[in-house]
Symmetry: C2
Subunit: 397 residues, 2 copies
């Protein structure tokens, strides 16, 4: 575990409880020695799962001490029965840890519309809590996976000039994958002392540029959850908003979340490429973002990436129908440093051939220069190929 | 041609001018004996082609007599040079027909970013005009095609109680197909006498429920154009808004456009299914439409259709993230008459098996009942399968 920066005062555990028929790890617990200031962001999907119905109001209180996660079943579209099971799991872990139930957060990921069984929780809660240890974060990262090809962990270390603090992020997700499986979970822990209110604004800002700027297929799940816990266990002074330490915290938090977000895109179903769509020279950040998202979610653009085709026509068209105001005669488009479009016109066959070479890389940047202002925004996307269809349409064969 | 209702006073011609290297038909002309009241709707894409730059202001005047169309080249992203060529083609046809240039409308479809050559127009204008005849509408339908598998023609006949009128629609389109090829063109002709203002509102209403309610891959092109010409050549009384004759006109116009729109979806790249997504019980038509579009454009929903999987979880999730206000506990979902979801919960394995049988049909309806109001809206979509990827990513191999 020495290559990740583990924050002090957190313990981790994971095991196979039988929710997954495969027998793989499917139950995880993150616990802070003391209650931690907490912020959370959740899916905007109005159809949201039972664990979020329990967790959202609790996180609004700004404090959390334990996060219980299961994979293999999203406990979504399960009605009253599902909500009751969620509440029971919360009671079980609170009792075992001897903490207030209001300090427990829940997350689930997996099949939608199938009732979550309570027995795996009843039969394994003591074992799970007994297994809590400081060096088991990677077990949690594995236990929260559904069809991820690999676990997603990122960390950073920052200083306030006197003390060093760690930030650890654990995530799962790869687009809305396989039948009825929910998408993106992120758990970010730090041993710095930070108020819940500042945590909340820092998280929202960092999520905007990371988890909310990625797309594998454009769908947002019934279960997306990102939680940020700060327990102050490193012992340093509270980090105040506006201070240099706060800046360092936010910068490193953004980097950890962006690293995780990119891992999610790279692991996107059937993805062979990670592409940054960077729109710059926009009149506003909203405009830049809207245009970037439009390009990043275009099926035609994504299939062109898969086909390694430097197809700027589809890109400029996606910018054009995004809804923002643009002057097509001012638009320049680049694949990495290669300009394929200048003032809305082709730059010719030689540069297009150079751009085709860029398309062969597993990662590259498409820059769309609008020449209308000075704000920019990036969206990260994957290509769209046969594997996506196979995974999402043929999984039963 | 006897199976289509051809409006009086229109003539048609089409030929191969050499724009298409394949030697296929690529130049078409529709001409009214007299100037016709005209309405048009055009792509909302802010990156729009030279022919639209010429045509839009002219159609705003409400009169048109000739429509010149080429396929094989969209004359889009061609800058000042492209605009000049468009204007030259307009001058050529106006001269050959001996009509005012302002009465000429242009449309192009094909490759984006490649200059449109003027020579094919110069060399063929006299032949094209000479070939104009009342029974050549199907030649036009073929000459405007790009990668359409078949030409798209629909017609209707309606009466004002005294006289019968014909409506003929010619269209092309199948999603934004092949590299840089533009999408949807529609030309609708009638021999009824109708003012341009009423034509405009009738067209907008009819397009909303047809061409603007279809999606193959969600992209809207640089060239989409629909023109509606009414030349009064049947000789009857002018049809006034609010009259029964006006109602009959609008009804039949909507049906013609919907027939064409469905043909476009069925011809969608790689499409094996035409699916109507009908959202009902919504609080407003906008809400119904937003939800229907969200479901219709979801890659996960479309791949499920391809895989013949009655996957309601993806459908309810797409409704949930559409942005409208919904109560997940009130949502019912049907595949044709088979209910798979009631009050946001699964109706069980037997009904899911019945629904799977529905998925095997080439056409079916998914009904989402929101139980929140009494408005409904439909969107038409195709499935998403391997062929779409092949066509859009592998076309060069």
């Amino acid at each position: 575990m020495s290559h990740f920066d583990i924050p002090a005062g957190f313990r981790f555990a994971g095991l196979a409880s039988g929710i997954k028929k495969s027998g793989k790890l499917d139950l995880a617990l993150i616990c802070s020695d003391q209650p931690a200031a907490t912020a959370g962001v959740f899916t905007q999907n109005k159809v949201y799962a039972a664990p979020l119905q329990v967790t959202k109001p609790r996180i609004a209180g700004g404090v959390c001490q334990a996060v219980l996660i299961n994979s293999g079943n999203a406990n979504a579209c399960t009605g009253e029965a599902g909500l009751q099971v969620a509440q029971q799991t919360s009671q079980l872990v609170a009792k075992q840890l001897n903490i207030d139930e209001e300090l427990v957060a829940l997350a689930s990921t997996g099949v939608i519309g199938v009732q979550l069984p309570i027995i795996p929780f009843e039969q394994n809660m003591d074992k799970l809590v007994d297994a809590l240890a400081e060096d088991r974060a990677l077990v949690v990262a594995e236990a929260i996976m559904t069809t991820d090809a690999y676990s997603k962990v990122a960390s950073a270390r920052f200083s306030d000039g006197e003390k060093a603090y760690n930030i650890l992020g654990l995530a799962k997700g790869a687009g809305m994958i396989h039948p009825n499986m929910a998408t993106m979970l992120g758990f970010v822990l730090t041993d710095a002392a930070i108020d819940a209110q500042f945590l909340d604004s820092a998280l929202r800002q960092a999520v905007k540029k990371s988890f909310n700027s990625i797309t594998v297929d454009g769908d947002t799940s019934t279960n997306d959850t990102v939680l940020l816990l700060a327990n102050g266990a490193a012992g340093g002074k509270k980090i105040e908003p506006g201070s240099e330490a706060a800046q360092a915290f936010v910068q490193h938090l953004e980097r950890v979340l962006l690293d995780l977000a990119k891992m999610i895109v790279r692991d996107g179903e059937g993805a062979t490429k990670l592409v940054e769509i960077k729109v710059q020279g926009a009149e506003s950040e909203d405009a830049a973002r809207t245009a970037a998202k439009s390009v990043a979610t275009s099926s035609l653009v994504k299939t062109a990436f898969f086909g390694e085709d430097a197809n700027w026509g589809r890109i400029i068209s996606a910018v054009g129908y995004s809804g923002i105001d643009v002057d097509q005669n001012k638009i320049d488009i680049f694949f990495n440093q290669v300009a394929v479009t200048k003032d809305g016109l082709s730059t010719g066959p030689e540069l297009e051939a150079e751009a085709t070479e860029v398309l062969k890389l597993p990662e590259f940047t498409v820059t769309v220069e609008l020449n209308q202002g000075d704000t920019c925004s990036s969206y990260y996307t994957s290509d769209l190929g046969y594997e996506y269809i196979k995974i999402n349409a043929d999984y039963r064969t």
